[in-house]
């Protein structure tokens, strides 16, 4: 067993992918000389050369479009956008170009690019450096979206994303970058679209992803002391998401709570709730509950931000509500 940090797992995945495939290149602001704003690409310029680890000017629109064009012409670009909030500037490239190229060119082209970007609050970074905008991307046919919750999944999903022939958005949570976990050797490559049960339980299912998995597990711990057995399902992939795994868990527990750090309204949780109401209706013994951020920008002050972020206590309340 060795201890692996989340950010180091990202770094290893990039290095291993670059080692395995000479067409993998890293593109982004401060990814090369500085090794990434959060250190994801540290040491990779020294190892693979500056032609494959490219520091770009602050031109998100152009570098995203460049990644699309490069992917259509034989490279496998991994683009880093320093904060998910800045993905507002890459929307044309991702939504109108990357997502649609394969379909609208009749299968002539594929766009094997990855957009890596961190979301999430908790660092006092304020309204423009903390947002969770994954639902925007998950809403676009042609894009895949994954959101690892720990070091092993950070490695396994990033490797899968780089290998994937289609554009994949890999969303990391900034608050998880320092997270450590014990792993045995190199973590396995994970299939995109598969959820995992992080904690088995019988009384209620909590579906979560990213940093919210920790919140869900904390809530499950609290309720275990009260004799309530909660199953925590880690989605890992948001588009496509593992509908079968959610339905299977719901069919065992008959209660469903969905947790994410993103704003609750119109979020990933809304989609899961709607689908389960449709295909899992007969299994439900209580209302489907969602726990997400309130409908407001992420605030700066610690007090405000703490109140803003979904908490274990909030998840406990939601589970209790559906079990009433």
């Amino acid at each position: 067993m060795t201890e692996l940090r989340y950010i180091r797992a990202v770094n290893m995945a990039l290095a291993d992918a670059m080692e395995a495939d000479p067409t993998v290149v890293l593109i982004g602001e401060d990814v090369s000389e500085a090794g990434g704003a959060f250190g994801a690409s540290r040491g990779l310029r020294e190892r693979f050369g500056e032609a494959r680890v490219l520091d770009t000017p602050i031109s998100e629109g152009a570098i995203a479009g460049m990644a699309v064009g490069a992917a259509m012409s034989g490279l496998r670009p991994v683009l880093e956008i320093m904060f998910m909030d800045f993905t507002t500037l890459v929307m044309d490239a991702m939504v109108n170009q990357a997502a649609k190229a394969r379909f609208m060119f009749g299968g002539q082209a594929s766009v094997p690019m990855v957009l890596r970007t961190p979301h999430g609050g908790g660092l006092g970074a304020g309204p423009q450096h903390s947002q969770c905008l994954e639902a925007w991307f998950a809403h676009v046919p042609g894009l895949k979206v994954v959101c690892p919750s720990d070091p092993a999944s950070a490695y396994g999903l990033l490797r899968a994303a780089i290998d994937d022939p289609d554009p994949v958005v890999v969303i990391e949570n900034k608050a998880l970058y320092a997270m450590k976990a014990d792993v045995e050797g190199t973590p396995p490559v994970l299939p995109i679209g598969k959820a995992v049960i992080r904690r088995a339980g019988t009384d209620a299912t909590v579906v979560a992803y990213g940093a919210a998995v920790r919140t869900a597990i904390a809530a499950a711990d609290t309720l275990a002391e009260r004799g309530v057995s909660v199953e925590v399902l880690d989605l890992l992939s948001l588009q496509p998401w593992d509908e079968a795994a959610v339905l299977a868990s719901l069919s065992r527990t008959h209660r469903l709570v969905i947790v994410h750090e993103a704003v609750e309204a119109f979020g990933i949780g809304a989609e899961i709730a709607a689908r389960m109401a449709q295909i899992g209706f007969d299994e439900l013994d209580g209302p489907i509950m969602r726990v997400g951020a309130p409908f407001m920008p992420v605030p700066f002050s610690k007090g405000l931000e703490d109140a803003y972020l979904p908490s274990a206590a909030g998840v406990v309340r939601a589970i209790e509500k559906t079990m009433e």
């Binding site: 031109s59 152009a62 479009g65 259509m72 109108n96 170009q97 002539q108 022939p165």
Partner: protein, 337 residues
């Protein structure tokens, strides 16, 4: 009023002393004619209701497509615009695949999912027309990066209109291409219009000055003279492929039709449109050919052959299948089918 640079005359220093042989020019003329006939036919098909959607014709601008493409090979890539039929055909997209796509057939190169604004043929390096003004610049930028990184002896070409110059992406892409010395040729088709407003009312700068800001060589070209365009492209493409960095060709040209088919151009002075006949790219080439000793029979033979090729492709396209919905749905992601 207008910030339109003068159209260079025939004494443009870009045009090499010799110029193309009569055979070579006849071949270019035939390509011009192919684009023209294909688009004229699309115009009638559109008004007859056989072509759905929006189509933007490049009639009057064919010499830019044909001239630039004459300097390119299959390994070179291009990213195009909403007005991309000429780029596609000149780059080598077969007419059958082209018409089949425009008629929304399963045999279309995009299987009836893209249509006019997304015609593409990856096998000849045509990375797609584009419905988003300016987006093609960044696609070409990425393709140029791939050529450079993978050590290919190839360049990428970004086509864009003068209206696109007001997009911020132009600045980002020119800066990056110059900074990294990417093998990228910027081709601006300056037709004086962006939709229904003269670009003199949209732009406060000249492309020449913008290019100079990035240290990119800029050349003004008579975009209606295929010989001048071809010469300008030939003058810069080998150097670009060899790593000398990007260049800008600003091709002064003429949009004869409306912004899209069905646009009655009420906003335009009829005299202006009438005057365009004197600058018709086909007429300019035909006159050059006549000066080189071609006779009317050469030209009418070319016209007959092109006409026949267009009609044959159209007949094939008309007999094609409608696209299958389930197949389309299964093709959003690779290997999902």
């Amino acid at each position: 009023m207008a910030i339109r640079p003068p159209i260079p005359d025939a004494a443009d220093p870009a045009a090499p002393a010799g110029g193309p042989s009569r055979e070579a020019l006849l071949a270019l003329y035939r390509k011009l004619l192919t684009v023209r006939r294909a688009e004229e036919r699309l115009g009638t098909l559109f008004s007859d209701g056989e072509v759905p959607g929006f189509i933007h014709l490049s009639i009057g601008q064919e010499a830019v497509s044909v001239g630039i493409m004459s300097a390119l090979g299959d390994a070179d890539t291009i990213a195009s615009t909403h007005r991309g039929h000429g780029h596609a055909i000149a780059k080598g997209m077969p007419l059958e695949g082209f018409f089949s796509e425009l008629l929304a057939r399963d045999e279309g190169l995009c299987r009836g999912r893209g249509g006019s604004m997304h015609v593409a043929d990856m096998s000849v390096g045509m990375l797609g027309a584009n419905g988003i003004v300016g987006a093609g610049l960044s696609i070409a930028l990425g393709s140029a990066l791939a050529h450079k990184t993978l050590g290919r002896d190839a360049c990428a070409v970004a086509f864009f209109g003068d209206g696109a110059l007001a997009e911020g992406l132009v600045h980002e892409c020119m800066n990056l291409a110059a900074l990294w010395k990417l093998p990228l040729l910027f081709v601006c088709e300056n037709n004086g219009w962006g939709e229904f407003l003269p670009t003199s009312k949209q732009l406060s700068f000249r492309l020449a000055d913008l290019a100079a800001t990035y240290g990119i060589a800029h050349r003004l070209v008579d975009g209606n003279d295929v010989v001048a365009v071809a010469a300008a492209a030939e003058a810069v493409v080998p150097g670009i492929r060899a790593g000398s960095g990007p260049a800008v060709l600003e091709c002064m040209t003429t949009r004869v039709r409306g912004h899209f088919e069905g646009d009655a151009q009420k906003y335009r002075d009829p005299d202006e449109i009438e005057a365009l006949a004197a600058r018709d790219p086909l007429r300019i080439s035909a006159e050059r050919l006549a000066g080189m000793g071609s006779n009317d029979a050469d030209l009418s033979l070319a016209a007959e052959e092109v006409e026949a090729a267009v009609e044959t492709a159209l007949t094939v396209a008309r007999s094609g299948r409608a696209p299958d919905f389930a197949a389309a749905l299964a093709d959003v992601y690779t290997g999902a089918a």
